[in-house]
Symmetry: D2
Subunit: 286 residues, 4 copies
């Protein structure tokens, strides 16, 4: 993150002749210096996807005017689009339960500015990590979730998320099923790490399922949360080799290393606006 300030334009539109020419010419007309750009045509569905980073100080205007001036082009191309500013840090709210590995991993990346984000607060259904989180100067909210109080608890989670103006909610092994109304209130903004290589082993206790089936690799999946459990668009996945000598406890331990790595990669892609969704799939411009 020692790079100059830049704007990131992410967009998709129906495919046709001249899309890149139209967008790149607009940028060039204003002396915009393109740092990085990626394009993808989905030939099956006839849809075009792009992500362009433009050096901020090469342009004679800032985001508001960029938006105004680009608007007619986007209309003409029937684009879904957004633009972000690398100088505005994303606000990420982390939800955890009692497992530490993803939380420590994210905090180390935040602490070293590898993840150059704001963490306005951490929310947990347990009080275990209060000290650790607060020691880092970050607010901690204990919101217990019981069979009886779910509606109230998730209303509180959503209230806290809105209060701190969160951009992204990360379920860092939160281990609770998020109610449909929370999912639909935050589309494309809730990221989960599931402890299996989806679509294998959906739902509870995937390592137990993997042990029973006798697979030779186990994995983890980072995905957007939708109302369908473990069915949302997949952002990133990875696996690790196991063998017959590994118990379920060993698999849980190996799994943690994959979970935290996959979550960190998936979250980074998301925060850098590298992920565009297309139905239930993702385009990830790495």
């Amino acid at each position: 993150m020692h790079r100059d300030r830049f704007f990131t334009l992410s967009a998709s539109c129906p495919d046709r002749v001249g899309i890149i020419a139209r967008v790149a010419s607009f940028i060039a007309e204003h002396q915009g210096w393109i740092l990085e750009s990626s394009y993808h045509a989905d030939a099956v569905d006839g849809r075009y996807f792009m992500r362009i980073e433009v050096k901020a100080d090469s342009l004679p205007f800032h985001l508001a005017e960029f938006r105004d001036r680009f608007h007619p082009i986007a209309e003409e191309l029937r684009m879904d689009w957004r633009i972000s500013d690398s100088a505005v840090k994303k606000r990420v709210v982390i939800l955890v339960s009692k497992q530490e590995h993803c939380l420590y991993d994210l905090m180390a990346r935040w602490q070293s500015k590898e993840l150059d984000i704001e963490i306005p607060c951490v929310i947990s259904n347990h009080d275990n990590f209060r000290g650790f989180v607060e020691w880092h100067g970050i607010a901690f909210h204990h919101v217990p979730v019981t069979a009886d109080n779910k509606q109230f608890a998730y209303a509180e989670v959503q209230r806290l998320f809105e209060e701190v103006k969160g951009d992204t909610m990360v379920l860092a092994r939160y281990m609770q099923i998020i109610p449909a109304e929370i999912c639909s209130a935050n589309p494309g903004r809730i990221i989960n790490i599931h402890h299996s290589f989806l679509p294998s082993f959906v739902g509870a206790k995937p390592y137990h399922q993997a042990y029973q089936r006798g697979v030779k690799l186990i994995g983890a999946t980072c995905h957007y949360v939708t109302a369908d459990l473990d069915q949302g668009p997949i952002i990133e996945q990875d696996v690790i080799r196991i063998d017959h000598s590994d118990s379920i406890e060993d698999m849980v331990r190996y799994g943690k290393d994959i979970e935290k790595a996959v979550l960190a990669r998936g979250l980074r892609y998301h925060l850098e606006d590298r992920v565009l969704t297309h139905g239930n799939k993702t385009i990830v411009f790495r």
Copy 2:
């Protein structure tokens, strides 16, 4: 394959104190030189597994007498066991359809003696590879399979397998569902390569399924064939990374490289008596 001749003892039995001592002492009493040995205790089921390679010329007897003398120990320990001789080549019958990658790969390994086996014949439901197989000096049998002749066709496959005294039947992307009676006639002797990372994407067109789900890795699984489609004990698996730019055709192409590598590894483990089955799982002493 520059190693001396050796015998391979593979066994499993209920776990108890003194199993290794009993078996290793028997071998030592006869001056048997152990080249390699592996042990595994399944703590959940209380069962013990082992594989021991003994240098043939270190012993004062050969397999028949080994079997006689070891028999009381095996009885006492309530063992399932077998012993093989590295000087006796395994007889592997390959079944193919119209895809070439696994066949070429196995033939290259056979040709260079990396796989030090006999291939008494190749059987196919198409005639495409006759020339290629026969050029290598191997018999080729075209056994067409249609909706109407399945019973007859598989009886012929089984007859050919028995006629050539086959040890192992390899489905090298054979693309046909093997009838239950063939499976049960050859338990632990039919090896398949399935073109997905099981248990994801069972059945037909797994790459199409993977494309629809938007996974970020695709894989292949080498397993023993049982009457339950794609449910047999898994011997080996592996995966390869794909991304949004890969079409189904690209996935098929990437998949071939994983399929042939996974099949070759799984087959090798099997032929070297490194695979012991335990219910629907495998112990693989690599």
Copy 3:
């Protein structure tokens, strides 16, 4: 390869504002439909790289006229560039010695049209594979190489390569050091597979070197051949895990699987004009 015919433009030039706009506008003006496009800015050296696939029948002209019309733009941008036609198959000459794995692997890919190329001939310093190659309907030339005849032998290799109008020479474990004059006569056209993860274990017997050092992974490297042994631009690399129980023979065996996979991937990138060199490094637009 079920895609429509397309042209592939590969280019690099000094970085500045408006490169993409200039090139993409040229294509759009002629109704060129972009199937795939990739761009890379080397910020350290201030150089820009691109690769664009344009659907052939979307343009009103063919390669010759494309070249004429694009020429002024390329001049203005001070570009190094080339353009190729997917309908014109690349001509690949394979050089082998006595190891079979890369040859069988390439032949299987050619036979199934996964590699949609012409193989005008195979050249070898041994006669072993004559039958195998000729059975596939491909010419085989035995050009022995001895301590005394090197100059003559390589002159003959070069003559054969030119005679068949070869585009690319593939050293498929050819195991001979190519003289400097052959390297400089064919810049960026000779591809080698080295049996180590370069820069580790340059030169002869890399698996022996790896065994001595006790590494836990071994690898292979596909690279362009230059006059500096094993120092040319790297196109692709991969590794496989080994452990203390693996002998040098085991490592050779494992290594073969990595070698053939890495060579096939690297060769494919090269043939699809996905590789641009930049000094001693490569940009690979996968």
Copy 4:
């Protein structure tokens, strides 16, 4: 670590007939229940290696008596051997500099008891992590290292290590060259994580070296520290894929994920007595 208490016997000796029989019979005579056992014969050097876990309460005696009774067998077999007790936690001293990733990672594993060790203190040449370490209830020592005070500084490190009765010293990206006298005072007890795939890129700034060479994978190596810089026995290695778009800063970031994973795995193997050294190589009984 929910397993019962056990003793771990690690040993090596000249290879001969009857080693396993001798050792396993000794254990069986005393009703010792073997939980896990691994054996390796180095055929080149004629040396035998083993590691055996015995359930503590299956034996009628504890470590001292085990040692006495086993001594004559070890003498007879001319063994190098040691035995450890899972109930006695290893004492690990961590040395860090200014990078956080390995420290956070190890602390998370310690905090969750995944690494069931004592950390008597953390030593650093900078004061940055004092607060983080002390918050976990662990002593922190700031021992500055300058060009002038090296001898004094390392004497202090050694004094602290001995004072807390450390078993293992972990260089968690400590970034200082350990003097030869410290290396020889603690043979097989100092573990380093080097940020390259050794033997590639020995010494300083390996990611810069990797960037210059244009490799397609970068790696990390966990090894025992000896007086020869980056030449000690390798315990574990791994790699991650990069491409032309990755700057040195990106490589450093990717590298951190590999470094912490490789260090954690290597350290775990060491602490569980799974690593036996043999000259400059390791046997790792995973």
